[in-house]
Symmetry: C2
Subunit: 348 residues, 2 copies
């Protein structure tokens, strides 16, 4: 790479091999090593970032498809690095908003160093008395997803009945804790006894169950929600959404930001019980965190004190080393992560 | 029937024979004749109504099921008359809000005369310069469904792209005309060339198509909505909803008050393209007109002038005679009606 006169160093990268059908495999990505100049080129107003923490998020599976179903996202380019949200340290900047030493989060490559040519979307990290990795989770996109999804989309009221699927995940564990802080009755579902235990004993859910041990999800929901469900925070879809629809209360609300059970299916499963939408006058609202980024300062003002006071806790599943990132990402779709899946590239 | 001292007259009735599976048939109802005293009993504060116009509405199919899917409705009782909305004339009243000669609409039996023991839910008809049958349609529950569903639930803006299924029906034809009055681009689908012609040439839709002639609904919608759909007024579900989901614009809204294609199915069809809800941040809102009855006076203030000025037109499919009511109701589920299906029992 020309210009800049900086140090040329080796740059390990995780490369996206080719478009994926069905469940992604280790071999859909491979590790390689290039070189990178640690100075931003003269003709760029970008930043050069040393990557510290990578975030593994379900939406990344969608970018592995040849044609993203709706072309809202841009697919990964075969032969180029996987990209995702992450935390990094600015080594060099030609952009007025950033300077050397700044900690930032935004969309980076799965590599040791990334040249970011359009850093406008990056957030500067101001608070470092909490783990830096939190900016991939509770203080990043998943945190804002939980915050905006619960407080804005679900419009919760004290005492309401709240159900959360994938409840121990990066988003679900927060939604449940927000709901408890609001005085709601909160039940979560997850896929292992360990996760169910976390929900009840670490996150303070009122009840939790292992959906894999329930032959009849409708019956399971009726057991926990004899009065029905006011708010469903949907992270999975599949059979769970159909069962939930049968158990919604009048004027119930369903916030939809993820449907992880569908991401690896060629043809999505059908949802059958939509008549309940009329019977119960249910509202279903799809949303993405990106539309709430303007609320980020307000969000931090709410969540940082909760973290510092120990009112909210956050469980991360931290994997060491860029070379282990593909397996970590793939594990997400098998439910192998316990809590927010993070990959450490470097600690500073 | 004892008491009251009134005239005992014969009362033809349409009786619901037994719970229905699949499409209802003529033989699921039968005609009989009883006697009725035309005076309200002394110990009642009810009203005695001579029935004039009966309304055939899709929701009535749901009341023919043994267990209404969600027990929000009360099923018909085998051996008792079919009930539905209708217009009648008060022959006798022991209720302070009603007096002899009043015209009313509300839930009546499919019979010549009905004793209404709890007339609290009845509306008094004040405006008779329009056809009385309109109170089963444009000025009754379907009209309020269209009005509240479009203006309140869909929150339309001038210039938006609006799609309506079952568009020539009791509700759809009004939604389309409301949308045109608001300055929207409006396309409707229907199931015969005659209905498509009505949509374009009588109701002033910008475009209309016969969904039965479209092998690929997604392609049909793309033809009419190159920019996508802002508002979908859902009356049918089935494959149409899946195709619509693929064509929604960002922040699109789907108002759901009916899913007629599903009412006669043992198992509802699956809806597969719900991922679009996230991609396009779509809102789906179920609603029923009953929740908007408090807006009825405001609704009349808007719609009556439109009718009188000829700005809104309304097509009815009027069948003569109580004995033809079962066939009229059944025809609704085959799309045999053209416009609002009404049955005349008597004209005054």
């Amino acid at each position: 790479m020309a210009g800049g006169g900086g140090e040329l160093v080796s740059n390990k990268q995780v490369i996206f091999r080719d478009y994926v059908n069905g469940f992604p495999k280790d071999s859909d990505m491979f590790l390689t090593s290039g070189n990178i100049n640690l100075k931003v080129p003269e003709d760029s107003d970008g930043i050069l970032v040393k990557n510290l923490y990578l975030s593994c998020d379900p939406y990344m599976r969608l970018l592995m498809n040849h044609i993203p179903s709706q072309s809202v996202f841009t697919a990964y380019t075969p032969g180029s690095p996987v990209t995702g949200l992450g935390v990094g340290k600015v080594l060099d900047s030609k952009h007025p908003d950033f300077q050397e030493g700044d900690l930032v989060w935004g969309t980076i490559g799965w590599e040791e160093f990334s040249l970011i040519t359009t850093p406008q979307g990056f957030f500067k990290i101001q608070h470092t008395d909490v783990p830096l990795s939190y900016y991939t989770g509770i203080l990043g996109m998943p945190g804002l997803t939980a915050y905006a999804g619960f407080y804005e989309v679900c419009a919760p009221k004290k005492g309401e009945y709240v159900f959360i699927s994938a409840a121990s995940g990066a988003v679900g564990q927060l939604v449940g804790q927000f709901a408890k802080l609001m005085g709601c009755y909160v039940v979560g579902s997850a896929g292992t006894p360990q996760k169910v235990d976390l929900l009840k004993n670490k996150f303070g859910f009122d009840e939790a169950f292992n959906y894999k041990e329930e032959p009849d999800l409708n019956a399971a929901l009726k057991r926990y929600f004899s009065q029905g469900i006011d708010i469903y925070f949907e992270n999975v879809r599949g059979k769970m959404l159909d069962a939930v629809l049968l158990n919604m209360r009048i004027h119930g609300r369903i916030a939809v930001c993820g449907m992880i059970s569908q991401y690896n299916l060629g043809e999505p499963e059908g949802v059958c019980n939509l008549m309940s939408i009329i019977y119960k006058r249910v509202n279903i609202q799809g949303f993405v965190a990106a539309e709430y980024y303007h609320q980020f300062p307000k969000f931090l003002e709410v969540v940082l004190p909760y973290i510092r006071q120990g009112k909210i806790t956050y469980v991360e599943d931290i994997v060491e080393g860029l070379e282990n990132a593909p397996a970590a990402l793939i594990g997400l779709f098998r439910g192998q992560n316990v809590g927010k899946q993070v990959v450490v590239v470097a600690r500073d």
